[in-house]
């Protein structure tokens, strides 16, 4: 079933996210990052960081939470289990550190038909609770076969 074009521009309430040290360590380990600054507070301090920093792709954890709100929107018509990741963009204003209290706000940036598939772009802006910009991310998903018709 085609995705609902009317949702382009729709904004979703921000998701709160408290960044835990163990979560950052777990994520770094899961991608094979062994540099001590991502695991050890002393190494992070020695490198001039206030605490353990996140690896650059960590914000995907926040965008996934935001995405779940979008995917669950009954007006969208997305079957997440038929989705593959098409493109990913990050723009960084400052690193994420353990202890950060963040807000991640999502918005449907685009819905496009591409052959039998459809592209869904979701933009997430991440700020601190005080409103300081942290990063933004655009996730473009490919909904396989959702445009209907035959190949």
């Amino acid at each position: 079933m085609p995705l609902n074009q009317d949702l382009v521009g729709k904004e979703y309430p921000p998701v709160r996210y408290e960044v835990g040290r163990e979560k950052l360590r777990e994520f770094a380990e899961s991608v094979g990052e062994t540099d001590p600054i991502y695991h050890d507070e002393e190494a992070a301090h020695a490198a001039g960081h206030p605490d353990i920093p996140a690896v650059p792709t960590f914000p995907i954890v926040l965008t996934t939470r935001v995405g779940q709100k979008v995917y669950e929107d009954p007006n969208l018509g997305l079957d997440y289990s038929r989705v593959v990741h098409g493109e990913q963009e990050f723009t960084y204003h400052r690193p994420i550190f353990a202890g950060d209290r963040l807000l991640a706000a999502g918005r449907v940036a685009a819905v496009q038909v591409k052959g039998r598939h459809e592209l869904l772009a979701i933009e997430t802006r991440v700020t601190t609770e005080e409103g300081e910009p942290v990063c933004s991310a655009v996730v473009t998903l490919i909904a396989r076969g959702s445009a209907g018709g035959s190949a």
């Binding site: 991502y38 650059p56 792709t57």
Partner: protein
Amino acid sequence: MQRGGDADRQRIRRGIGVTAATEVTPGQKLEQVVQTIERADLVRYAGASGDFNPIHWNDEWARSVGLPGVIAHGMFTMALVGRAVTAWAGAADAVVEFSVRFSRPVPVPDTDEGTEIVVSATVKGETEDGHTRLALTATCQGEKVLSMAQAVVRKR
């Protein structure tokens, strides 16, 4: 101080960093990151990232949506690329922009050997802001799995 092969590689890996004084030459290649991926890595990444899409752990489901079988999370590949970039930049906070297009899936067979991703990066030049632009590639079984992949890195 010990000099030579291992010591130099270690220094690059830990990163003394790209400072304002660093001469960055277009065409310069970054140290490659080579990573074996097995099914267990995808399970670990699913848990760490919160992405439990069954195409990353269920062969039957993956085939039912037209994939060759279980594929790696695109973000797992992007994270490997990120490691190459931050290792070269020498700082977690040096990355200003980072973007990729996932042009080909990375099938991960249910074997002890799994598969292998090779990440390479090349300096393209400077941006208007004086940052360094890197062109990035990742290959699996000799095929490129990313296109239009790039990062912009700030000098310290």
